[in-house]
Symmetry: none
Subunit: 401 residues, 2 copies
């Protein structure tokens, strides 16, 4: 990324503080054509006041029309082009359950399945066995031993689990073993290039031993593996921006994403109030603070328009405490939109607000999708947000003489 | 194009219908500084109503300040970066007269010229001989026979014609033979790289035989060839978007451009009403419909402001019939602007409207250049329009987990 070359060249240290508050899935849609979005419906006196002080805009997470998952959504906000930096499925799944991937790790998603006497798949999800049952099956797999490789098996939910192989020279270039059909056997792990031959053998050996261990399981007696992937090579916030970055998140996925960017996880907060306590507590130790608020997304995913409105109002009510800390730059944004109407992530641009003493007023008096369209940040790629954060923090020197 | 990689990865099939109505040269300019554009002048109650339901914006065909021809203009709308995918002049000219280029074809534009006794050009346009006369000269050239190559000669207008060479291993990398001056001989076709040596020989042999055949012509006794080009390699709509695409156009150029994108030409409509009849008739057989309306461009080229206004009103009046078919996504746009004031294509952004149930309202109540500037699509590259069409049709899966 040319932006990274620039930032490396221009980044300077100072005593400024940057707070990036990510309201997951913030953007929305009206339920009726002439209605209001969740954000437009919510009473947000604090965000509106901040919007009149700052500069607003609409952030495009990846490209117009592209709906991002949490991974690409956050990569963009952190200044990594989500089309250039990709987190493989296995690595994201491991990250999502709080498994800290190392540089020698290759992770894959596993699904338990049911095999018949001939070894053919009769149920691709092992009857969606309950999580408690699955956890016990995973426990049995700790017995697998492969010479020269450390193996970690972790439960996710129901029939899903994560396996991580740790060893020198492993590679994520291994094909999925899921035939995506019943009545056929799981595929044998195949290397996608010569360098992955050993990893494919390791995976095959894992499956072989697992078959033996699970032979007496009534449902989860087989498995398919998908999305083999190593830890993505992201330059760290420290190296890139010269920022000591703290992440204050509740859920493992967002902690994991922050860790991949080299942020330090701070605190054990469970609520927004506790997150702000944590923020206050570590204020002097870091330069950049990533605060993640999950519930604007989860209520959207539930299709719960009114509850999403309430969560936005909860967020609004918390703003004065964050402001009271005196951040040099305060950003409020989302990693993508999650309209209650669609009950899913969407491609719609995300309302975004940057507040700093160096903001040029754009004449807005409220924070909403409709207002942000007329804001001074325009409709901009999310990957450029960090450049603006750094600029308003007076942490970027002049480019050229 | 990274966009194509993404679309190939994310495209899904469903039963949605996308209509893209291209009003050629739609954008305009006021005749006086404080006046209104053609679109702002026209009474467009239907488009205005659609604008209040949908999301509007200003499409930039190629880059700011760049005036596109019909080729690049349409490539952008179809989602092909017009800077990456280029249609050579010969190929576009052949396309424009309805000649269906095959993969082994190389086309060139020809101009008849007048040669004096010494073989030097005395008139570069052969006295602009009338089309009927030129058609007869072209007919005589059907007698050319080149071993191993099929030759097609087709009239265009006045002194202009198209020649197509069909044969394995031919290449478009041949230099123009037009010296752009009188008093000198036409140039000999020269290969621009080693692979084009044979094609240059073929072209030279064509010219040699033509000189013999046309020796007795009073005006058109010579020729220059320009813009050698093969068929551009565009991934098809089917391969790229998994869309069965139909083109409903009246003029050969637009039919040809649609065919290059792998669309199926449907119907023999001559009027907009007939085009909509055709649309209704093939509604169940396709997923995507490209409707081309020529007259907003031709009236602009004529400098006929009032007639362009009338044509826009004609288009507006046709909207309810298109809406009645119930498209999931309805797009109204243009391939470029053609302001009557300039009597030519221009670089100005093109008013664009996307209507779907998943549109986020942008507070507009009318469809015009001025309104589109404040629309939710912003000022955007035309090549991203298809991504938005696909998104609103719910035909793009999530990017990353």
């Amino acid at each position: 990324m040319i932006e990274h070359d620039l930032v490396r060249e221009l980044a300077e240290k100072n005593s400024s503080k940057i707070v990036m508050l990510v309201a997951d899935g913030l953007g929305g849609l009206p339920l009726k054509p002439d209605g209001r979005t969740e954000l437009e419906t919510a009473r947000t006196p604090n965000l509106d006041r901040l919007a009149s002080r700052g500069t607003s805009g609409s952030s495009v997470p990846v490209l117009p029309g592209i709906t991002p998952g949490s991974g690409p959504g956050h990569l963009g906000l952190f200044g990594y082009d989500p089309l250039e930096f990709r987190i493989g499925r296995g690595a994201l799944e491991a990250t999502g359950i709080g498994f800290e991937l190392g540089p020698d790790d290759v992770a894959a998603r596993g699904n338990f399945c049911t095999l018949d006497a001939a070894g053919l798949i009769s149920d691709r999800r092992a009857g969606r066995i309950p999580s408690e049952e699955s956890f016990q099956v995973v426990e049995r797999l700790q017995a697998v031993k492969i010479p020269g490789v450390e193996t970690f098996v972790r439960p996710v939910k129901e029939h899903r689990f994560v396996v991580v192989f740790r060893g020198k020279g492993l590679s994520g270039a291994v094909a999925d073993t899921d035939p995506q059909a019943t009545g056929v056997a799981p595929l044998t792990p195949q290397p996608l290039d010569a360098a992955a031959a050993r990893t494919a053998e390791v995976a095959a050996e894992f499956v072989r031993q697992a078959r033996g261990i699970l032979a007496d399981e009534p449902k989860a007696n087989g498995m398919v593996l998908r999305g083999f992937a190593g830890r993505p090579a992201l330059p760290s916030f420290d190296e890139l921006y010269r920022l000591r970055a703290a992440a204050i998140a509740v859920y493992p996925m967002y902690k994991g994403l922050a860790r991949l960017a080299g942020m330090t996880l701070v605190g054990e907060a469970k609520t927004l109030a506790e997150q702000i306590d944590t923020l206050a507590g570590c204020w002097n130790d870091y330069d950049f603070f990533f605060l993640h608020f999950k519930y604007t997304d989860s209520t959207g995913e539930d299709g719960a328009f009114d509850r999403k409105v309430e969560r936005i109002e909860e967020l609004d009510a918390a703003m004065p405490r964050i402001e009271a800390l005196g951040p040099s730059v305060l950003i409020v944004t989302g990693d993508h939109s999650t309209p209650s109407k669609l009950q899913s992530h969407s491609w719609h641009p995300v309302p975004t607000l940057v507040v700093a003493d160096t903001c040029r007023p754009d004449g807005l008096a409220a924070f909403s999708e409709r207002d942000c369209l007329r804001g001074g940040l325009g409709i901009f790629p999310a990957k450029h947000l960090m450049l603006m954060a750094m600029a308003h923090a007076m942490r970027l020197g002049k480019y050229g003489a």
